[in-house]
Amino acid sequence: MANPHAPDPERVARVTSAFTANADGSEHSLCASSADVAAVDGAGVVLILHGRALGTVCSSNAIVEAVEEVQYSLGEGPCLEAFATRAPVLIPDLAARDVVRWPGFRDGALAIGVRAAFGFPILVGSVCIGALSLYQRQSGPLNDEQFADALAVAHVTGRTVLDWQSIAGDGSLARQLEHLPANRAVVHQATGKISVQTSESVDDALALLRAYAFSSNRPINDVAADVVRGALLFGARPPR
């Protein structure tokens, strides 16, 4: 099954050189290079496997970090859609009237000062392992060069993540990705507790947690922490 958005090899070679020149082995240089090469205000990389968002690998600045937090908290946004459709998702103006998808993400991103959002699936072979987000403070589409570069950046990002894992070896997690499970441990613990409190699956429990975080306008990790320390209960406890 050929990929209709396969980046051209010459561009991939050029982007690879640029990434290698700036690489310091950390995930931070990955995002910095991504934003740089695509010539955008901000870039973020998210790992998604088996439909489950596993976390942000890196964000090129604090604004991107905040927007990725919104995306994770709500479980909606350009990254997740790019992953689901395995195709680029291009929103040149989040404030435009015809942007009806992800109202929560849209409002959150606009409030942070992001006006345009673009998501690109990260494909290695035929497997999608996540997505690359590109953000702009001003509205406007990516030009042809930026679009083509973004496809190449997504490709090189995927290869880089796999390279990191190949160094770590079987049974270990790449050190550049160690922060992913750690950052959201409290969220997963909370979903475990909520699943028991409500007799729901952990996936449904996560949806409940997200909905509560959205409606109370609080960061999901804070709400999760309250759940974990018993300060916040969902539904009735089962009788002992």
């Binding site: 496997l49 088996h50 596993l54 290695v124 049974g171 990705l177 613990q189 979903t191 475990g192 974990v228």
Partner: protein, 247 residues
């Protein structure tokens, strides 16, 4: 000289397999059989190198050929070895010539009824992947034109093999990532489940989970999955019920 049509059909057939998912062994078999049709030889065989650079038999067009190739591997001498190591085509026109160059291998080839042998390397830039053996029962190895065709077939085969390996390696790494990350998620979820059920904190819950895993000789990740999906709930309660502190 092969019919143009047949040659083109073969190249298309081989190129098609590069796009679709395919079985490398089947691909090699096809290549061996088509080689015999397209160039003036009696039998063809393919050897592939493993990670350590040792050649192994991959496919061939006849049983007779297979026996000779297996022998070649045993004595580690012969046209395939030379083509692979020296990264160039190797030709031997007569049994006497073969006997001079490969004294151990040559008698076995003769026994198999083969008089002339040709071998071309399977390689792409720095990657040496193996070699293609082409044997004839009559004297006279491949002429230049047939040699070019043989090398073209070998080149396509090499691309196919390297592509298949790349995909396999990528899948291995993707699975490692998925396993490592999913198992952490599962363990945290299980801590929450056990903490809630037993009215303890998540650290105490983790102690119980680890103890259970040890006592029942299970992996931590497996235990976590079973706690979260409910399949180990009863067993876990039975094992750890008496350990829960009074709330």
């Amino acid at each position: 000289m092969p019919h143009q049509q047949r040659l083109v059909e073969t190249l298309v057939e081989l190129a098609d397999t590069l796009v679709a998912e395919y079985d490398v062994i089947d691909f090699m078999q096809t290549l061996a059989e088509r080689s015999v049709e397209l160039v003036d030889v009696s039998a063809a065989g393919i050897m592939l190198a493993d990670g350590a650079g040792r050649l192994h038999h991959a496919a061939c067009s006849s049983e007779q050929m297979r026996l000779v190739e297996l022998f070649e591997l045993q004595v580690e001498q012969g046209p395939c070895f030379d083509a692979f190591r020296e990264e160039r085509a190797v030709r031997s026109d007569t049994p006497d010539d073969a006997a001079r160059r490969w004294p151990e291998f040559a008698p076995q080839a003769r026994e198999g009824g083969f008089a002339a042998v040709t071998a071309v390397p399977l390689r792409l830039r720095q990657d040496g992947v193996g070699a293609l053996n082409l044997f004839s029962t009559a004297d006279g190895a491949l002429d230049d034109e047939d040699l070019q065709i043989a090398q073209a077939l070998a080149d396509i085969a090499t691309i196919g093999i390297l592509q298949a390996r790349l995909i396999r390696d990528q899948n291995v790494l993707t699975n490692q990532l998925e396993t490592a990350l999913s198992s952490r998620v599962g363990i945290e979820q299980a801590k929450g489940v056990v903490a809630e059920r037993n009215t303890i904190d998540v650290d105490e819950a983790f102690v119980l989970i680890r103890r259970f895993a040890r006592n029942t000789n299970r992996l931590l990740s497996e235990t976590a999955t079973g706690i979260v999906d409910g399949s180990l709930t009863d067993q876990f309660l039975a094992e750890t019920g008496s350990d829960t502190p009074a709330s």
